[in-house]
Amino acid sequence: MEPNHPITRRQSLKRIARISASLAGAALGVCPLLSQSSVRAATTGKRFLIEGIGSEKGYKVNELTGKVFEAAGGMGQFVSKGDVVVIKPNISWARRPELAATTNPEVLEAVIELCFDAGAKNVRIADHTIHDARRCFALTGAGIVAKRTGADLVFPRSSMMKRMKLHGHRLDVWPVFVPFVEADKVINLPIAKVHGLSTLTLGIKNWIGAVGGRRSALHQDIHQSIVDLARFFNPTVTLIDATRIMITNGPSGGSPSDVAVKNTLILSNDQVAADAKAAGLFDHDPGKIGFIRLGQKWGLGTYDSQKLIQQRVIL
């Protein structure tokens, strides 16, 4: 099987030049963001939690994605004209999408298209992968999605990991993947999986893929570490991909029998609420999961469903 080469070298060089130039242009006016506890302003407005379920056979994932955002008032609520949007999918493993180790490329594609429709100037896909980034881009489908939508796929280079002050309770200074701090809007797009140490890996845990450094050491205090990261990155909105979820052998999986099809998407501007809702899919009590409890404790959000505007979309 030959890899397809839809992008020529010349095109990719041009694209690189364009990214560099636009980054440079965008940055000239922005002062360094080195010492903020969060890279974006706190979420304003009401906290909401929307659950989208594709109950029909053969429902379209991109339609469901669109409906879920519609229920929240449309992508225009989150993305303004001219914004640079950075999406953080989980594409850490060089596995095919069917194995549910990585974010469903159909959801990724739908979100990117919604961003462009809302007037985003630029959409970037960024993840500091565990496996080799080139193989992850190819096998997870993120590469072809980027090509089809015109989004930029940011190659995680070590020089793009910049030490910054996180002001966390556990992590003070840590190397951060630069595109996230330079974005106007950040969308967290994790997949829901089980995890040997943190019980589940959902939205909050996804931020490990947005930092560099000695990431394997974060596991020594995983719950507080990822809550610190989530507080720092503070996404505009979180969409948890639970179209397929990994119910055993996580987070790497590797067999179709590790996967359960749930046809569900969870959208929230509250990181804790989104994760708590997704924990329900695994029949877990959110209050018993360390990072969800800590997230509420440090004011990241709430898993008390009474405090949220809840909606359900069924397709």
């Binding site: 099987m1 030959e2 890899p3 397809n4 080469h5 992008i7 990719s12 690189i16 030049a17 990214i19 560099s20 130039a21 980054l23 440079a24 940055a27 000239l28 360094p32 060089a94 596995r95 095919r96 069917e98 490329p105 565990i130 496996h131 080799d132 980034a133 080139r134 193989r135 881009f137 190819a138 096998l139 997870t140 489908g141 590469g143 072809i144 090509k147 089809r148 190659f155 280079r157 070590s158 020089s159 793009m160 910049k162 995890h195 040997g196 140490l197 000695r214 394997s216 050491a217 596991h219 020594q220 995983i222 055993t248 052998n249 987070p251 790497s252 999986g253 590797g254 029998s257 590790d258």
Partner: protein
């Protein structure tokens, strides 16, 4: 045809083949945009492959073909290119050396850019010497050794040597140098410098390698290459004249060449310009006997002669050429060396006893003895490996296995769904395998074991389980058990402790690579349990492949 035209045709050919070689060498890695078709993403287990592997140059090399055939009794894929080249050589002489060989072209450029000697000294340096017989000695040693089961051809085969030197030493050295520069720029607080660094790195890394490519003993490989280049200061194309075993092989095959140098004694004014410009010290001067086995067909003598005393002609009447001057001592010495080296090579014990635990071969590698018989140590698998885990050996495989590939898990790890190294191997020392075969059979390259004294949970130093998280098999070969261990100050500490299920472990080494204990990790992989070996097994199983 005029001499000038011939020389220019040669230069164009040399530039083309050197350019092609360098291009394919740079392309011997996964590109950033190796995107699969959307439909392929969803099909099961796609195999990522290079679109333009450099294997053509290896297939063209008769020494690689012959040594693999004699030693491993294997016909390498695409060997008819080499066969074709030998046929062409039979009739046209060492046209490969003069027109195609990228290493020869590099020597040619170095010799030309900075001539070793001037005037009369150069003429004298270009006389044939007994040193020219060394290459025949080396060739005979390699071929006899190959028959005896020791294949060292790749160590000094020009294509293998050039690929190894450039891919493992020269390019990474430049790449790491540039990367460090970009790192300094990226760390700066000046935004413009940051973006210059990102852009620069995006341009440079596809050529020189991603991240900080590093190869064990690369400094030594690079040093040897520089020394070989430096030898051009002593004699032009020193390597080609005196050392190159492929040149010797082609010299022998040029015996019946119909393209010959015609000398016109009456026109010669004895100016010796032809000798001064001769790249091969092939005695082009009228009055000397032209050595067609030494001639690399550069056509310099033809071009240099002001009197028109020299010309290259096709001689249709079978006129016997001079025999290659091998020398009896070189032939006998080569045979003795070729017989004794394979015997000596077995004395380190690796052939009949248990091999070094660090000798973890790439997935799909042949059983050790067969592997050593065909591996050319070209470094293509090492260059292609996306995680930089495949490295040249120093002593792990014995001296007979110098610079053959082995995996160093602290440098990288073998990615579970990656089968790239076998797909590029020019001789099949690493079989081409599919992802499905690698996972389902499974192909094991070793086995992991936990070093409990270092392991954070086992030693009471806190929770961790990174190894279990990253273990790629399903179900995981590394599993957790709840345990209460004595923590600091004897306080009981409840933790999850990792165990390895040897039946499931394929030795990929991602656990060792990502273990937070650096340097000598708390979980390590050894070669024991590798499925290519019948001897090197741990468990009692009946399904050893």
């Amino acid at each position: 045809m005029k001499a000038k035209h011939l020389v220019w045709i040669r230069r164009i050919c040399q530039a083309f083949f050197l350019g092609l070689f360098l291009f394919l060498l740079v392309e011997s890695r996964l590109p950033e945009d190796a995107y699969l078709q959307y439909s392929l993403v969803f099909s099961s287990d796609p195999d990522l492959r290079l679109s333009q592997p450099i294997t053509f140059f290896f297939q063209l090399d008769p020494l690689i073909w012959l040594s693999s055939l004699l030693s491993g009794h294997r016909l390498i894929h695409g060997f008819w290119w080499a066969l074709g080249l030998l046929l062409v050589t039979l009739f046209l002489g060492r046209i490969f050396c003069g027109f195609i060989c990228p290493l020869g072209t590099i020597h040619h450029i170095v010799s030309w850019a900075k001539p070793a000697l001037k005037g009369d000294l150069m003429t004298r340096a270009n006389q044939k010497t007994a040193g020219h017989r060394i290459k025949y000695f080396l060739l005979i040693m390699l071929l006899v050794g190959a028959v005896m089961g020791l294949n060292l051809a790749g160590l000094i085969d020009p294509i293998s040597l050039l690929f190894r030197s450039l891919a493992l030493a020269i390019l990474p050295a430049i790449g790491v140098g540039l990367k460090e520069l970009f790192d300094v720029m990226a760390a700066s607080d000046i935004k413009a410098l940051n973006y210059l660094s990102y852009g620069g790195e995006a341009l440079v890394s596809p050529v020189f390698g991603y991240g900080y490519p590093a190869y064990k003993t690369a400094w030594f490989i690079g040093l040897i290459f520089l020394v070989i280049l430096f030898l051009n200061r002593i004699r032009p194309r020193f390597w080609c004249r005196i050392l190159c075993p492929l040149g010797a092989l082609l010299g022998i095959f040029s015996r019946f060449s119909i393209l010959g140098l015609e000398k016109n004694h009456t026109k010669c004014t004895d100016c010796k310009l032809c000798s001064g410009s001769c790249q091969g010290a092939a005695s082009p001067m009228p009055g000397q006997t032209w050595e067609n086995a030494e001639c690399m067909l550069c056509f310099n003598c033809f071009d240099a002669c002001p009197e028109g005393a020299l010309s290259f002609r096709f001689r249709w009447s079978p006129k016997s050429n001079t025999r290659p001057d091998m020398g009896r001592r070189a032939v006998l010495g080569g045979m003795v060396a070729g017989i004794s080296l394979p015997l000596l090579a077995k004395l380190d014990g690796s052939a009949h006893h248990v091999s070094d635990p660090r000798l973890i071969r790439p997935p799909g590698a042949l059983p050790e003895n067969d592997f050593l018989r065909v591996c050319q140590r070209c470094g293509l698998c090492m260059k292609a490996c996306p995680t930089n885990v495949v490295n040249p050996t120093l002593a792990e495989a014995g001296m007979a296995g110098l610079w053959t590939p082995h995996l160093i898990m602290t440098r990288g790890y073998c990615e579970y769904t990656c089968t790239l190294c076998g797909s590029v191997c020019p001789t099949g020392a690493i079989r081409e395998i599919s992802v499905r075969e690698k996972i389902e059979r499974p192909i094991k390259i070793g086995a992991a074991y936990v070093d409990r004294g270092r392991c954070l949970p086992w030693s009471g130093n806190g929770p961790c389980i990174v190894c279990q998280e990253l273990c790629p098999t399903s179900p995981k070969a590394i599993y957790l058990r709840k345990a209460v261990v004595p923590g600091p100050g004897h306080a009981p500490m409840p933790v999850d402790v990792p165990y390895v299920d040897l039946k499931r472990c394929n030795g990929c080494g991602i656990c060792e690579n990502k273990c937070p204990v650096r340097g000598r990790p708390a979980i390590r992989v050894i070669a024991a349990g590798e499925s290519r070996s019948l001897k090197n097994q741990i468990l009692l199983t009946d399904s050893v492949s």
